[in-house]
């Protein structure tokens, strides 16, 4: 319910104010009371299956008998009198646990969930401790579910949370409840990789150890032996909050860290399983010279300074050294390089097409007509248009949010039928297939198509024209695109989409930089602008326009860089001799620009320096390579797609010569100074200082521990070397300690390193840190929105001119597993990667003689001597004829060298990975569709 009315209820004799329209379980938990539960989930609502949350409810003051009721299924009534402590209720709850335990294996010592198991917690809480059942247990066979997830069905307590999350919440189709009565089974129809991009959440959603993290279990550690700090996922531009855990210098796992406005309770599988690269044996550990000889750190630092200063004599001079920043590095590293080479010499490190997109995205972010929605706000949209983005593969957590947005229709219907929104199954039943509109304009299938109301598939250029035309349909002041909608259907899809958007009370337009297509972003802005005009200025709120950035700090990098300082410009300056040296920050330039241009620029440079954490083609060409720390080994801030700056704490130390990049390039002693460098010198970053925690409540130097209170075996960890308790490492850079000493978060600490509360060892303890269920964390701090609105709005963009040409239009095909540079170097992710492929329409495949799974050569249209690339053919029925989508991410592929139009010819099938792990719904069958 939308109203915030409060009512009074009495629980065990104490009167409380609670939210009207809610249910008793949620309100009891919000009040901090301990009431056990299993099937209820804070953002999946109630179904009443487990019967664990039973309480007594009394009819009136005279009623002493009361009736047993499931708190999660009972609406809060004003004046209600309930009891959690009632002996019958307690006995019943103990009975439920005893039931759940009759076939449970009691294998806690070898179970990965042990120590953070909701079932353990609830067992203790319910007071069941002796197994009376002495009959035969039910046992199950486990399934192989792919490289991410273990399956141990014997531990199942049949709460149905897994399928409710996987199918109903996340839209997965290959997990189901099977069989029945006490043989009920949760699995796939046969063994195989779980297809959903959100499968990892099963680990957290399952209250016991049925679904566990396979990557973690390979180097397993109990939760209480992990050193944990609040961090931010570096997998894409969304900036989900995570809590990575480390032991023995190895990053062991990543779990979700609750953020009420962003990721809530869930992250995607790239974020969860994509950090293995941190532990990679190939990590750069010492500075290297151009010949690959190891250098000592001081000498290397000196060399860097010389290179930076040599060309122009003074650091920061215009004709000196070029700095190329990094969208995957934090602000501080970029600030430091920017300061070192001077603002005018500092360039963005992403591709030129992305650079152009970023200009528009940031421009729109400052436009008072538009609002850049958080994930929670995205979930509130009641009509969505997605323009050219395959969101599941580029900003997965947002795709999950869009999937929730289509449920607004259901919630509205539920309100009308007086069904509480938290009555999950009832709301779904009532609404059936009724969904809020989700309209997708793209050049091929996306992983949200199953919930889309309207699909328009077209070549990139036609798509842009259609989108401009759509804006015109919404408001005639927006310029029309000649040759717009080519559809001759009886129902014009653009008219339908326009109607959806106009009818909505909170419409949302989603586009992004991943396609590198500025026309699409302009069109998105026009559409949002047209909607804004039609909705009337002033009166209504700004229109939600979500323009996605591609990497963890694309936005931060953009904000500190001069508009004309693109990567192309940097390379041009180097090649033209306008600049002598180059310092490349955490960036493989070969992924960003035509290979020939990068080669030429690096060859022309007098000296080149690369700072990075893993070797790549750019480090291979550098005259000086400086090793840097990974995201979990340093403290840094990032700016996400919303312009939200967030602080990621250091989780653990790196014992090699690697340092945070700002330490190599900057003259700061402490992290704080590196951060303030930007905050003080770049106006848009002024508020960045707010991400630093307010430690005033931490008395005199006391810190927040990264290790839990039960961290065990600390003295034994290095017992083979030394039996003395070593002095714990100090962290002068943050309010966190590398030890178990300090103020644990429960007691008033500002920083929530990992959630734990007495009796609540599992992740469900999060409720103890929330204001109220699903509310903000009491610890703060949700990050700081940096972008200010201008006073004047922008106008409409003119449509692109029709540029026909030979060949097929090329666009990038992003993959959640493989397209992001660092995660794709993680072992677990590599198991899910495909070979480089080219998606083509069946008709084009026939035309060019291509066969499913076999080789295809792409070459620059009309340029026989131009770049060519070989990949696997992937014939997809939903691909627009005339368009080809080339998988981006493969290190060898010169995507940017190909240009806008390509020709296809059959080629040798490349070796290596096939298409085996590609999960799409529209793959053409060999004979049937082709």
């Amino acid at each position: 319910m939308t109203d915030n009315a409060k009512v009074q209820i009495t629980i065990d004799g104490v009167t409380y104010e609670v939210n009207a329209g809610s249910n008793l379980l949620q309100e009891c938990l919000s009040l901090g009371l301990d009431l056990p539960y299993f099937c209820w989930h804070p953002c999946m609502g109630s179904v009443g299956a487990c019967r664990q949350c039973a309480v007594k409810q009394y009819r009136n003051d005279e009623d002493n008998a009361g009736i047993m009721t499931m708190a999660c299924m009972t609406p809060v009534q004003p004046g209600a009198r309930i009891s959690i402590e009632d002996p019958q209720a307690k006995a019943f709850r103990a009975g439920v646990i005893e039931s759940l335990m009759i076939s449970h294996p009691h294998d806690c010592p070898v179970c990965e969930e042990g120590g953070e198991c909701h079932l353990q917690d609830m067992t203790l809480m319910s007071g069941h401790n002796y197994r009376r059942y002495d009959k035969k247990k039910v046992t199950h066979r486990n399934q192989y579910l792919g490289p991410f997830i273990n399956h141990e069905m014997n531990r199942c307590i049949t709460c149905y949370r897994c399928v409710r999350f996987y199918n109903e919440y996340a839209g997965g189709e290959d997990l189901s409840a099977q069989a029945s009565h006490h043989f009920t089974y949760f699995g796939r129809h046969r063994e195989g990789t779980l297809e959903s991009e959100f499968s990892g959440n099963l680990v957290e959603v399952c209250p016991t150890g049925v679904f566990t993290d396979k990557v973690f279990s390979e180097s397993y550690t109990r939760k209480w032996d992990l050193q944990t700090a609040p961090s931010v996922c570096a997998g894409c531009g969304v900036g989900c909050n995570i809590a990575p855990g480390e032991r023995y210098g190895e990053l062991r796992r990543v779990v979700n860290r609750y953020h009420d406005e962003l990721n809530g309770y869930f992250i995607c599988d790239r974020g969860r399983f994509g950090t293995g690269y941190v532990n990679d044996a190939e990590r750069l550990k010492t500075p290297l010279d151009g010949a690959g000889n190891e250098l000592d750190a001081d000498a290397a630092g000196q060399q860097l300074r010389e290179i930076a200063g040599s060309a122009g004599g003074t650091i920061g001079s215009a004709r000196g050294t070029i700095g190329i920043g990094s969208p995957r590095a934090g602000n501080e590293a970029n600030f430091a390089l920017r300061k070192l080479v001077g603002e005018e010499n500092f360039h963005t490190g992403y591709s030129d097409s992305e650079h152009a997109c970023m200009q528009l995205i940031a421009e729109a972010a400052g436009d008072p007509q538009f609002h850049n929605p958080s994930i929670r706000e995205i979930e509130q949209a009641d009509a969505v248009l997605v323009l050219g983005e395959d969101v599941t593969n580029t900003a997965p957590r947002i795709a999950l949010a869009l999937r929730q947005s289509v449920r607004n229709k259901a919630l509205e219907l539920a309100d009308g039928a007086n069904i509480p929104r938290w009555q999950d199954a009832a709301v779904r039943e009532l609404a059936q297939q009724e969904r809020s509109p989700l309209c997708i304009l793209s050049s091929g299938a996306t992983r949200l198509d199953d919930v889309a109301s309207d699909r328009v598939i077209d070549t990139p250029s036609a798509l842009a024209r259609n989108a401009f035309e759509l804006a015109h349909r919404i408001d005639s002041d927006a310029p029309s695109a000649e040759g717009g909608s080519s559809a001759e259907d009886d129902i014009d899809p653009l008219a339908r989409i326009a109607d959806h958007l106009l009818a909505a009370s909170r419409p949302l337009i989603v586009a992004g930089a991943s396609s590198g297509d500025v026309d699409l972003i302009k069109a998105a802005i026009n559409i949002a602008g047209a909607l804004r005009k039609r909705r009337g200025n002033g009166a209504s709120a700004p229109v939600d326009l979500c323009l996605l950035t591609t990497e963890v700090n694309s936005m931060g990098l953009h904000l500190m860089t001069r508009p004309k300082n693109s990567l192309g410009e940097a390379l041009r300056k180097l090649s033209a001799g306008e600049a002598a040296n180059v310092i490349v920050l955490e960036n493989d330039l070969y992924r960003r620009a035509p290979h020939a241009q990068v080669d030429a620029a690096l060859a022309a440079a007098k000296a080149s320096v690369a700072l990075d954490l893993l070797p790549n083609r750019t480090t291979a060409k550098a005259d000086l390579v400086l090793p840097v720390t990974a995201f979990s080994e340093q403290q840094t801030s990032y700016v996400n797609y919303e312009g939200r700056a967030q602080l990621a704490y250091q989780v653990h130390r790196n014992h090699s010569a690697a340092r945070p990049a700002w330490q190599w390039t900057g003259d700061f002693e402490h992290f704080r100074q590196a951060l303030l460098e930007g905050a003080d010198s770049i106006p848009v970053f002024a508020k960045l200082r707010d991400v630093l925690p307010d430690t005033s409540s931490l008395p005199g130097g006391i810190k927040v521990p990264r290790q839990s209170e039960r961290y065990s075996g600390r003295t034994a960890m290095k017992a083979n070397l030394n039996v003395h308790e070593p002095k714990q490492a100090q962290d002068p850079e943050s309010a966190l300690a590398f030890s178990m000493e300090g103020v644990p978060p429960l007691r008033d600490a500002t920083i929530l390193a990992s959630t734990w509360a007495p009796q609540w060892n599992s992740n469900q303890s999060i409720s103890k840190f929330q204001d109220e269920i699903n509310g903000p964390l009491r610890q703060g701090h949700g990050g700081t929105l940096l972008l200010e609105k201008r006073t004047e709005s922008g106008g409409f963009f003119p449509p692109p001119v029709n540029g026909d040409g030979a060949g097929l239009e090329l666009l990038p095909a992003h993959q959640i597993f493989g397209s992001e540079e660092l995660s794709s170097r993680s072992e677990a992710i590599r198991k899910r990667m495909t070979g480089a492929f080219v998606a083509v329409a069946p008709a084009d495949a026939v035309k060019h003689g291509l066969k499913q799974g076999q080789g295809v050569r792409l070459s620059v249209a009309g340029d026989a001597g131009g770049v060519s690339v070989t990949a696997l053919t992937c014939i997809r029925t939903q691909t627009s004829p005339g368009a080809v989508a080339l998988h981006v991410g493969d290190r060898e592929i010169d995507f940017h060298g190909l240009g806008a139009r390509v020709e296809l010819t059959p080629a040798e099938t490349p070796h290596g990975r096939g298409l085996g792990e590609l999960i799409v719904s529209d793959l053409a069958r060999e004979q049937g569709d082709v």
Binding site: E173, Q178, E195, Q432, G916, I919, R925, E926
Partner: protein, 175 residues
């Protein structure tokens, strides 16, 4: 499975001619009776089972593919119900009532005779592939207990029947 699908996880590709024309016609008829395809899914399993005796993995995939339903979901439905057979059964399925009224009337003793006659226990199929014996909840003919069904036919007052003769009628009724 087509050659390609071995590589592709999401694909449940089966040759599209797996289902017979007759089955498809029946499935299409069911489609007109229900506003939602999921309902047709369960009906289609029954149709396929009627034709083929049981629902094999291939049948399950074919139905899922034909109706565009997730296989896992259909499997969840198929394994829920008593009368969908996910394992092969004999030519005649014996649904043997072992609920309370039949129990009082001695169905356990008669069942022992059935087992002896056919050489099978509950859940088993006779060696000649003729009979599968399955327990079934109350068949709703309790005043004439014990009862059982052989195929579509109900047999009552089993304690008074010549079981050998009864089964041989089915055995000889070859088509």
């Amino acid at each position: 499975m087509s050659t390609m699908s071995g590589q592709v996880i999401a694909s449940t590709a089966l040759p599209s001619d797996y289902l017979s024309d007759e089955e498809i016609a029946e499935i299409e008829h069911e489609r007109t009776l229900y506003p939602d395809t999921r309902a047709v899914g369960l009906e289609a399993l029954k149709i396929v089972q009627k034709q083929r005796g049981w629902v094999s993995d291939e049948s399950l995939l074919a139905v899922a593919e034909y109706l565009g339903l997730p296989v896992a979901e259909l499997e969840g439905v198929a394994t829920f119900f008593n009368l969908i057979y996910r394992r092969p059964v004999g030519k005649n399925v014996i649904l043997y009532c072992n609920s309370v009224s039949c129990w009082i009337m001695g169905c356990d003793q008669v069942r022992e005779k059935v087992s002896e006659e056919l050489g099978i226990e509950f859940g088993e199929t006779s060696e000649d592939g003729e009979f599968t014996l399955i327990p079934v909840p109350c068949l709703g003919d309790c005043d004439r207990a014990p009862v059982m069904m052989v195929g579509p036919d109900l047999h009552r007052n089993l304690d008074r029947q010549d079981l050998g003769e009864l089964f041989s009628r089915y055995r000889n009724n070859q088509d």
